[in-house]
């Protein structure tokens, strides 16, 4: 049995975009229509078995606030990956995410990041133009997710995990 690697992931995004829902879908397979605002920080764990090692993901779900500095920025310390989450039905949440991406870049330029454009089940109500999307996609890898249907949720978490663990790290762990 190979050793377990612990990895911290933070979810960042405006309130109500679906951060908690994405975590809940991913970790527990549960989705709820009811909105329960997160206060502060809530951490969930999920173990993933990769071919050559086991990863324990520590998923930090941060309450959606529009500013991204001070404490919230400090909580990113020690994170191996950041999932930015925006709500496709509210274009301003995507704009905010772009500011957050810039801000993160100033402090932690080499943390792997993904953008989850959530509520893909409501695509007929999305407010994101193709031009806007192209612009975002040129800066960060984007997944269109739905915490409701589960669309791309596993894939997004798998992808960030893959980005966080370097091949050397895997080989090392396998070797130990």
């Amino acid at each position: 049995m190979s050793k377990q690697i612990k990895k911290k992931i933070c979810l960042i995004g405006s309130f109500g975009v679906g951060k908690t829902s994405l975590v809940s879908k991913y970790v527990k397979g549960i989705f709820s229509e009811k909105y329960l605002s997160t206060v502060g920080v809530m951490i969930s764990q999920k173990a993933i078995q990769l071919p050559d090692c086991e990863v324990l993901l520590m998923v930090w779900d941060l309450a959606g606030e529009d500013d991204f500095q001070g404490l919230r920025l400090s909580f990113i310390k020690g994170a191996s990956g950041v999932l930015f989450v925006a709500d496709g039905t509210r274009s301003e949440t995507l704009q905010l995410t772009q500011q957050h991406i810039d801000r993160l870049g100033e402090f932690y330029s080499d943390i792997p990041t993904l953008l989850l454009l959530n509520k893909a089940d409501l695509k007929d109500r999305w407010e994101i133009t193709d031009a806007h999307l192209n612009d975002v996609e040129s800066r960060v890898e984007v997944f269109h997710t739905s915490a409701k249907t589960g669309e791309n949720v596993e894939d997004a978490f798998s992808r960030i995990t893959e980005m966080m663990i370097s091949p050397e790290e895997r080989a090392m762990e396998a070797f130990l």
């Binding site: 911290k8 605002s37 206060v39 502060g40 809530m42 951490i43 309450a63 404490l71």
Partner: protein
Amino acid sequence: MASDLAHQFSDRSLSSEADPLAAVLASLDYIVLERGGDGAFHLRGTAPQWFASVYGSDIKSAIAGSPFLSCFVNEIALPFWQAAPAAPVRSGIWTEVDEQGEQHFEAIAMNSANSPPLLVIQSLGLRYEEIQMLTQRANENALEHRQLGREVQKKDVLLKCIVHDLNNPLGAVLLNLEVLAMSNDEEVQGAALLALEAARRQRSLIKSISEVFSSDLSRLGRDRECAEEVSELVRGAAYVVNMHLNQALRRSVSILLEDGLTGSVSGNRKVSGELEPFVRAVENLVLNALRYAPRDSTVTVRIAAQEKGIQVQVEDNGPGVEPNLISGLFDPFIQGTTNQGAMGLGLYFCRMTVEQWGGAIRYDQAPGGGARFVFTLPWVVTDAHNSDGS
């Protein structure tokens, strides 16, 4: 709740002989940890009950075992203790989940002059519910506000499209009807004039729809401050009467303007209002009256001064408003059973116009049984007037 606290307090004060203050803190669900020179934390005073049940008895492994606490201690508190500023730093709320469900905490790193650095952790208990509820409400309100804004925007766009699409062909219709109205054939001319009248009414209706339903609220605030001389408004009312004389005559209806203002002291005072919307409001009422006025009757427009402002009445000898319609008469889209639809917005427009100037509009039964619409506009008190009037 209070007695519960007192009970806990007495319990704990027994177990803490040395430091009564620490016992108080414990009863408030704070745990106070002191950071020794070796970097290890030591309990100061008494540990509240929650601590052992959430974190166990070993403080070191408690902190190491909580990803949040260890992040706070290592990334935020340590640099803080080293820099030693006076004001404490708070972790913000975090949630731990165990078999008992969710529990919520906040940690505070402190420096004090004569003791080692302190780490204080509080269990929020019921206070969390309050904070959560406030956050939730704020977020939900923001979402709802946004949703409403979007709906209003959508409505505005739709309105502009409708107004645009309705107006475009109307230009051509009016132009051609005007040509037809000059025909030598009396029958054609008569029909063209009728059609022309209807088309003009439609145009003014479209205009008022776009005005009333445009959500440009900044306009409203501005209009409150506008003032117009009474003599101007009388001129406006006369203009409306003259405009519709011919139309009325064709149905043997006469329109009469009773001007109680010109030449009076009030004639050069100002009321809150603006000429152009005032004219449209009066015109709406006059057109409405003409629609219901029977043949050989008179529509009367009265303007008079009152103590608080001017009063404008528009009266006809028609059937009056059906009693069941009176209460909602000035709401949008009200329709009598006999009208042709133009009434839907006219009275609503009048109300919005008059109310935005601080005036009021109402419906009265005319003495002969017809309809009488009455609106008032308040005097604007200017310094000039005050010194004149004294």
